[in-house]
């Protein structure tokens, strides 16, 4: 029990360390980027050098980096991510607009992905069908070799423009399916391999021998093996999803964290970049921790 608590404490310390590392890394990376928000005003509105200097002072961009960092980190701890240099709006408001869309997109496509992967892998492993195994491999290669933006462009052309079935702006179905397929490819293959070993294992054979139907075998004997592996893969898949949502947000005009970040990077709007990446990364760390707990719960080998 004590060891368990100590373990939890260490786990929390580790999470905090990761979060802190991310915050520091993002902050300093942002400041190495050439060009700042004042440059943007110069670019479009035309400022003289003296005006630029005055504006930088006003925005606090002329202070030393550590001072800026302490200032920012202090605010961030209280949920105050500052004000957008470009839009003069609280960054937290902008995050609040972007987050739901990203969560929806990422959540749905993750569910579609994991569902598709489990379904496909279980079916392929149980049936021993070459055709289904080929399908698993196909989806896997698809996810590695085809950039999602490329699939997105093609899907828009076919389903929106030629067939007129789906909207380009704001539609959720296409991006969810595209990302889901991508996730399924990453999870499906290793899951399939694992299951194929499991189907030949003694207890599954016994189950068959006892005359249990294929559905029951799948539910009670294969799924327990499948879930932990699928969960284990999910960490990497979720990390990849942030990138995936970014390209989908751009293609389908969805308001999300990814495009918020991308635009902020192009606009050198540091407070927004910092806040958005921090939220995404810390969220990822938390989700990973959560997945780990679930993982322990479903995998009997780990709870020992």
């Amino acid at each position: 029990m004590g060891a368990r608590l100590a373990g939890t404490g260490l786990g929390v310390a580790r999470l905090l360390f990761q979060a802190a590392g991310i915050v520091v890394l993002v902050f300093f990376l942002c400041r190495v980027v050439p060009g700042d928000a004042v440059d943007r005003m110069t670019l479009e509105g035309g400022l003289t050098l003296a005006q630029e200097a005055a504006l930088r002072a006003e925005m606090g961009l002329d202070r030393s980096l550590p001072v800026q960092f302490v200032d920012w980190a202090g605010g961030a701890l209280h949920g105050d991510f500052g004000t957008s240099l470009r839009y003069h709006r609280p960054v937290s408001d902008m995050l609040a607009t972007a987050l739901p869309s990203t969560l929806k997109l990422a959540g749905f496509s993750f569910l579609v992905g994991i569902g598709l992967a489990i379904g496909l892998a279980v079916a392929a492993a149980m049936s021993g069908s070459r055709w289904l195994a080929g399908l698993v491999n196909f989806v896997n290669v698809w996810s590695i070799a085809l950039p999602t933006f490329c699939v997105g462009v093609i899907a828009i052309l076919i389903f929106s423009i030629w067939l007129g079935w789906l909207p380009v702006i704001g539609g959720l179905l296409m991006p969810v399916l595209i990302l889901g397929m991508d996730n399924a490819g990453q999870i499906g293959k290793p899951l399939f391999e694992e299951l194929r070993e499991a189907t030949t294992s003694a207890h599954v054979r016994t189950a068959h021998a006892k005359g249990l139907g294929p559905v029951r075998v799948a539910l009670f004997h294969l799924l327990p093996t499948a879930l932990p592996v699928a969960l284990a893969m999910s960490g990497l898949v979720l990390a990849g999803l942030v990138a995936g949502t970014l390209t989908m947000e751009i293609l389908f005009g969805l308001p999300g964290l990814g495009s918020l970040m991308l635009n902020a990077i192009h606009g050198r709007d540091y407070p927004v970049v910092q806040a958005a990446i921090t939220v995404a990364a810390v969220g990822l760390v938390l989700i990973n921790a959560l997945m780990d707990i679930v993982h322990r719960a479903v995998d009997p080998r780990l709870s020992r």
Binding site: T97, I169, R268
Partner: protein, 516 residues
């Protein structure tokens, strides 16, 4: 020089809208074909919206004209027309501008617009706003006052010809707007639509203002501006997710074929140019002969054809043919109208330049057209290190003056001076043009600005331009207007001179949607 306000009304009549506007109570649609039908939300996507404070805009000004208006506006022909002012007079010495305000204009909160409000706006821009196009003009303002409720007088320290044009971008906002003393967060303007809900980078929802001063306009229930920078507007136009959008020209050509979309363009052009580093030129690029030789390798016709097909105009000037400041003689004498590789090579040899040994540091944005220029320059044997950057990366790198050449573009402007000012030693953001520092050029432009006679002003501007061409500071490749795609259900909209969607004689106030 009083501009008759009557013409405005007559044009509205011609547009088939004012019949109803004179008798506002009357229900619309006398004849189903001609009368505007009311209602609908127009989805519009051109440029973004950087700020809710109309005085602090950073250049992306294609959206805020929905809810704010200015004393003047720029007509489709590029000439200034009175807008919130009924008319204005300039004194003979060019120092005093007297504006007569239009009657019956109210802010979105119902307050009538008074001369004091206008003065407050000019003062706010003069004292609070540091950057922007208006900054240099505001420095020359001696004083602003309101002799009566309907008259505003702006006194200048020296004559400044571009003033009336530039005032089209000094938007009049109610001093009661939230954040007036700092950054305006909810602008209360006079425009046909109200600043509704703004989601930066995503959208602005602007519902119609019922008390708008132009007759029974606006006809639309609301405008929803899509502010995404990275949107696939062409696809969205074809599907009908957008009604009006700016699209790249090659995509516009595709759209035009689809049948339910027609393609139009802004009336002022975007000009494409090659600039050399003028602030810290590196040999041999400090030699005008070498610059001239390089330009002989650039096939302007092929370039413009690539860029804009038949709509591209090859010229050597800052404005398109048809513009007041265009000079046919100068245009006809363009040495670089046709490429001449042999001549280019001979000139380089004469200047003792061995292109094979030189790598040109070439900067551009991430577009296709610079690659065309780069490839043409490579024909001379130069090695080219082409660095393509995003807006701010390019801005920053250009400012370091550690490059040799660039290929870039610059969009519509409310006044020709805004093109020349970038070539001046202390001009705002001169980096795209290599940071020209030429006191003699400055002097000529300053004289042109102070000249009240249009013909003499034109002669001075042309003299300045001659000097730019002789020194090969920057070389114009040609002009092409920005393309705007409009779905067929959109009625009564034709793009204006600049990106602004609202001006005295047209624009989005009189636009309506044909409903099936």
């Amino acid at each position: 020089m009083k501009s008759p306000s009557l013409t405005l009304d007559r044009r509205q009549l011609m547009l088939g809208a004012a019949t109803a506007s004179l008798v506002a109570v009357m229900p619309v649609s006398l004849s189903a074909q001609e009368a505007a039908s009311r209602g609908g939300v127009l989805r519009y996507a051109t440029l973004g919206l950087d700020t809710s404070d109309p005085h602090r805009h950073t250049g992306s000004i294609a959206v805020q004209q929905l809810y704010v208006e200015a004393l003047t506006s720029i007509g489709p022909d590029g000439r200034v027309e009175p807008f919130l002012a009924e008319g204005y007079e300039v004194s003979d010495d060019g120092l005093t501008y007297t504006f007569a305000l239009r009657d019956g204009v109210t802010f979105h909160n119902g307050d009538p617009v008074t001369a004091e409000d206008v003065v407050a706006n000019v003062e706010r821009v003069r004292t609070n706003v540091k950057g922007g196009w208006l900054a240099s003009a505001m420095k020359l303002v001696d004083g602003v006052n309101a002799p009566d409720d309907r008259t505003v007088v702006i006194a200048m320290k020296e004559p400044y010809a571009p003033l009336a044009n530039l005032l089209s971008e000094l938007w009049i906002v109610s001093p009661k707007s939230d954040g007036w003393n700092e950054t305006i967060t909810t602008p209360i303007g006079t425009g046909p639509f109200v600043f509704g809900e703004w989601k930066p980078q995503i959208s602005l929802y602007a519902p119609a203002y019922k008390g708008y001063w132009r007759g029974d306009m606006p006809y639309l229930d609301a405008v929803e501006a899509n502010l995404r920078e990275d949107l696939d507007k062409s696809g969205a136009m074809r599907v009908g997710d957008l009604h009006i959008a700016s699209v790249p020209r090659d995509e516009a050509r595709q759209l035009a074929k689809s049948g339910d979309i027609h393609v139009s363009q802004l009336k002022d052009s975007t000009w494409y140019f090659v600039s050399f580093n003028n602030r810290k030129p590196r040999p041999p690029f400090d030699d005008p002969r070498v610059r001239e030789a390089i330009m002989y390798a650039v096939d302007k016709q092929a370039f413009m054809n690539f860029l804009a097909g038949d709509d591209g105009v090859v010229t050597n000037q800052l404005v398109m043919p048809g513009h007041v400041y265009f000079d046919q003689g100068l245009h006809d004498a363009d040495k670089h109208a046709k490429p001449d590789l042999e001549k280019a090579k001979a000139m380089l040899a004469e200047a003792g330049v061995k292109p094979e040994e030189i790598t040109i540091e070439f900067l551009s944005w991430q577009e296709n057209y610079p690659q065309v220029v780069v490839q043409m320059v490579r024909q001379l044997g130069f090695k080219v290190n082409h660095v393509a950057l995003d807006d701010l990366g390019a801005q920053n790198r250009l400012g370091q003056y550690d490059w040799d050449m660039n290929a870039m573009a610059s969009g519509p402007r409310a006044d020709i001076f805004l093109r020349f000012v970038r070539l001046m030693s202390n001009g705002p953001n001169p980096v795209l043009w290599g940071g020209v520092q030429d006191p003699e050029l400055d002097a000529i432009v300053e004289k042109a600005v102070a000249e009240t006679d249009e013909a003499k002003r034109k002669a001075l501007y042309l003299k300045a331009w001659d000097r730019v061409m002789d020194n090969y500071y920057t070389v114009v490749l040609g002009h092409a207007a920005n393309t705007i795609a409009i779905r067929e259900e959109v009625q009564g909209y034709e793009p204006g001179f600049t990106w602004s969607p609202n001006w005295a004689t047209g624009g989005i106030a009189q636009t309506w949607l044909k409903q099936d």
